[in-house]
Symmetry: C2
Subunit: 463 residues, 2 copies
């Protein structure tokens, strides 16, 4: 009976929602798109276990729509063959432009390197306000793909356009994107010259170099373009509510909320001497359990929720045309790369708080579509604390590295990271979840591709 009543409510909302774009006098249409970077079903389950208990529910779980999204990537040539594991650049490009591209590309096409119009650019061209909020550098792949166009994601600043290298290792560049070569310049310059109304996150260091061919910095370029620059919560709160805002709250990625005790990440199981001779002999010590604790550095920056609240206030103020806001919780992914389970959990908690703000806003502003999705799946996977094969008298342990998290409900959660032997883990290739508020009902099929999200948002906003 409970579901029957739910069905009545959902269907009445569904038909209200699927009506054609609002008639004159109706409230403007808004979109809040929330991306949990790397937030796959393992990450969601890990966070649920820690934050709500295994029997509990995340706010994500309470949303009326849940779908799955296929993640497409192709080789870097026209009509390239499929590549089965993505990065955040090509996936954000799919969502932002509706076009499948190759790894590393920011709103440019595979092979042909054409600039692809983004949903944020199309919305701005129709008079809607647009905004981006992220816990990454604002020049990082996900936000970048909504408001800039380069052939390679590392081209974040004017001094990182050609012959980029890390400790002497050549990582490529974007020479064709130099303004001198007829391009639009680095990601930071393109953001400074973008039509975004508000842009909040980390990455100040990418704005301090001189703009290409200029005697002023990218920060000054942004200022010339009408952005107020703010660098902390107080300045954000004091900014002109009618003005455009560029908030850069940390040099790079913003500090995360949670960390393992004593800053611990995953650690490899430690085999005894005998076990090193043969893995069926001797014994293997597992890493000690840890709790998740607050990262003190997080207090130095606004939370994702605070940035989201500021962006919603700015975008909706005296706005009769509607808006598009992208909110990214970026370090679910970045902490997973570093094998830091507590870090990912805390950033999923930040996403939940931002989602609560988005749903609050939507409940007070009819015609607000809230979608939450991930860009790709990731390395973390929950494995048994006690092997299924524990009765066998041999040491059974995970390859790769392991975190044992002591959960508030009294359980012990084993999370392994075992996609590679490098200092940073790989992404993985599973489809990812997508969640929506009542406005999403009837607009989002149970299974879709990332490029379909572009179409759904465009249709909703009447672009």
């Amino acid at each position: 009976m409970r579901f029957f009543i739910t069905a009545i409510i959902l269907c009445s909302q569904l038909f209200a929602a699927t009506a054609a774009p609002a008639a004159a006098g109706a409230p403007p249409r808004n979109v809040i798109l929330i991306i949990g970077d790397g937030m796959d079903d393992q990450q969601i389950s890990i966070a649920r276990n820690y934050l709500r208990g295994a029997s509990g529910k995340l706010l994500l779980d309470e949303l009326p729509l849940r779908a799955a999204v296929g993640v497409l990537t192709i080789e870097d040539k026209q009509d390239g063959a499929p590549v089965y594991v993505a990065d955040s650049a090509n996936t954000a490009t799919s969502i932002a432009t509706g076009v499948t591209t190759s790894r590393g590309r920011i709103a440019t096409s595979a092979g042909s390197d054409l600039d692809l119009p983004t949903i944020a650019e199309l919305a701005a061209a129709r008079g809607l306000r647009t905004g981006i909020v992220t816990t990454a550098s604002v020049t990082d792949a996900t936000p970048a793909a909504f408001a800039s166009h380069v052939s390679m994601r590392l081209c974040q600043a004017p001094d990182r356009m050609v012959d980029i290298n890390y400790r002497g290792i050549p990582l490529g560049g974007c020479p064709a994107d130099l303004k001198a070569n007829g391009g639009r310049g680095s990601i930071a310059e393109q953001l400074a010259e973008s039509s975004l109304h508000i842009l909040l996150g980390g990455g100040r260091k990418y704005f301090t170099p001189s703009a290409e061919g200029a005697s002023y910095s990218v920060l000054e370029l942004a200022s010339q373009q009408g952005f107020q620059l703010v660098v902390d919560s107080a300045e954000l709160a004091a900014s002109d509510p009618d003005g455009r805002v560029l908030g850069l709250f940390s040099p790079g990625t913003m500090p995360v909320r949670l960390q393992g005790e004593n800053g611990r990440a995953a650690e490899p199981p430690q085999p005894s001497l005998l076990n090193r001779l043969h893995h069926y002999l001797g014994s293997v010590s597992m890493p000690a359990p840890m709790r998740c604790v607050t990262n003190p550095d997080a207090a130095s920056v606004p939370s994702l929720k605070q940035m989201t609240d500021a962006a919603l206030a700015s975008l909706s103020r005296d706005n009769q045309r509607g808006f598009l806001l992208l909110v990214e919780s970026a370090s679910i992914d970045k902490q997973a790369h570093e094998r830091k389970a507590c870090g990912s959990i805390g950033e999923l908690q930040q996403l939940e708080e931002a989602l609560a703000s988005a749903l609050d806003f939507a409940s007070g502003h009819p015609g607000t579509l809230v979608l939450v999705t991930a860009d790709h799946s990731h390395a973390a996977q929950m494995v048994p604390v006690e092997s299924l094969y524990a009765a066998y008298p041999i040491p059974i342990y995970t390859p790769g590295q392991l975190v044992l998290v002591a959960t508030p409900e009294g359980g012990l959660m084993a999370i392994n990271y075992a996609t590679n032997n490098f200092s940073h883990e790989e992404h993985t290739g599973a489809n990812v979840p997508l969640f929506g508020n009542v406005e999403a009902l009837g607009r989002v099929p149970p299974y879709l591709q990332q490029r379909d999200i572009f179409t759904i948002l465009s249709d909703y906003l009447g672009l």
Copy 2:
């Protein structure tokens, strides 16, 4: 507009579906529950890439309802603390009985070891026909939990009730479940004495020992209870359509459909001598790519679809009371334990075919609820063929073992298995997908627990 029309169709179906149980004269209600053992979003994505191409859709993806299901397990005591990774015994028990229990238990309660009534038993008690179809032994955990009750899943036959051991390794037993001790006997004996109308799968070897305290085999016990015994497709086709059928088509698990070329499974990357000295030096060879090929042994047994078709015909024949059918594609899991990606893909293909039969039946028989879900997530994960960090001049490779599958669409799919160092992989802890036909709309929320499936099925059937 497409979604708007979909919304109208779905809502009209939704209200039809959520009406109270059918009035007199209405067709009987039926449930077809399909379980893909270990069929998580990685497995589904892998199978989609191989069977349909990355841009394609599985039949699962076409279903109108997609939800996610939390997988709960507890320690083996009353009110035990949560355990974050399950096995197929406790998860099938949750689905079959609505009660969360501990690993290894078959429809019995954690700690207190009480027999828990199953949905199949409750349905049979109300006069509905019940059936089970599986590619595993019919005595394996998933089917067993719907129609038997023992404290430990290995107690499959009368000669495996106490002091079970494997190559001298003691694996426990179920002494309290012996009939001599007031119990119901082994799983095979309980199935032979069950109220099931049809039971098809593997596991003949568990029925050949003598029934406890008897001079006849469990097979003969089943025969005494009114089961016709069939052992191949021809006998199945020739069986009395009005009678009860026990089909045992192989000694244990049924042969799977697909396998790697030359029977290959995942293989460990092979480090060079220099790389063995330090993992940043030298080189590492990846396993050669493989295609998936037909396993010739599969021709010796009926397919999952053939068994499903036979069960549907048997259960629905002259039946005014409705039925409950469980269909399990078991070896998605078993092949993942053995690191055989092609095997899992083929068994997901078998599930798709059985699903097509179920949907065909449902379209011709209003009042048939079709649900498809998994019991737990699993070890396989798609990793990049080329590392995200390939620019770094060191060998980057997966720990654990790797399969490189050449897909029909011309891609190369890398699947790693890295949950442990044993001969068999572990399960993992992510929530799993659930799919439903139109009858599921309005009855299944976007997120639920496995025990809720029991309630949904009970309510649907009016138990």
